[in-house]
Symmetry: C2
Subunit: 159 residues, 2 copies
DNA sequence: CGAATTTCAGTTGTGCACAACCGATCTCGC
DNA sequence: GCGAGATCGGTTGTGCACAACTGAAATTCG
């Protein structure tokens, strides 16, 4: 039932925005966004990482990460420095302030868990598996339209 | 397990972006975005709607919809006109071109369904129910921080 | 009636996402 | 060495998403 699958996509979109709202409210006192929180969480858990590595964890490219990390650096949450070993690479590491947030924000996972109201750990695990399955399928299924094929005569090309 | 719940949030975020990528590739020949496609789908299914009604279906406010609908009107996909009955209201309806896209884009639901690779209709229904449950819980759970409470002394307020 | 309140669409400003592209740098094969 | 190709981070430009606000219009109520 194709229409149901599109409803799942919309539900994904709506649920993501709902969780994002909750993170926004929780993070507002620190003036952090959800992606910024994810960067902090990555560095807390994995230690200093290159921009590319952070991008792999978050699945974002430099076009998104560069300005995001620049804003975080301006606020003294992280620092970026060129790698000595490879001058193409920029290593991102936490400042003292960024590290200190780990303590300040330690209540957030529990607050999110409460807000989501999943039945139990097995429930969450099952959902996690299915979401990752969708993500993998969709990534595998991207219909490779050649980058910016002109496609004359489709829509919006007259007048 | 709080950490698992945060992983579900991230999986939601990642899965949404993956589906969005697939829609982007499918819609690229018509130079449409996923939210624009949703507006078209709403109008195809529900007929002419006020901006507020479209916003209720998509769960978006006028801050997002106004520029989105303006771009669609500039491309002659929809038309907006002030309601005669209530001058505050703007009714959105399809143009001939917007209506014609219903035929051009009728392959998309099946393409999405194929890409998602869900087992069967019952599988999709179950997932849909759980996603809607999360969305509802999160909306109910928004920790009402007073709008833009200054919160001095948190982070980013010195220097 | 007429003032206070509410509703509605729009605007402004900020921050993601992402395609497309760029320059610097590294690697590999010769 | 050295030149072709790959890798890395950054920039540009477009389009959401959203908070906060505005002004016009409708509604409520004293």
């Amino acid at each position: 039932m194709a229409v149901t699958d599109e409803m799942v996509c919309f539900a994904l979109y709506a649920a993501h925005r709902a969780t994002s709202q909750t993170y926004r409210a929780l993070l507002a006192p620190w003036d952090l966004t959800y992606p910024q929180y994810l960067v902090l969480a990555t560095l807390w858990n994995e230690g200093p990482q290159s921009v590319r590595e952070v991008g792999e964890v978050m699945q974002l490219d430099s076009g998104t990460l560069s300005p995001l990390l620049r804003r975080m650096e301006e606020r003294d949450l992280v620092r970026r420095e060129r790698s000595a070993a490879d001058a193409r690479v920029v290593d991102v590491h936490l400042t003292d302030r960024g590290l200190a947030l780990r303590t300040d924000l330690c209540h957030i996972p529990a607050a999110i868990a409460t807000g989501m109201g999943l039945a139990d750990a097995a429930d969450a695990e099952g959902l996690l598996r299915r979401l990752r399955g969708i993500e993998a399928s969709m990534h595998a299924a991207v219909p490779q339209a050649a980058p910016h094929e002109p496609v004359a005569g489709a829509a919006g090309d007259d007048r």
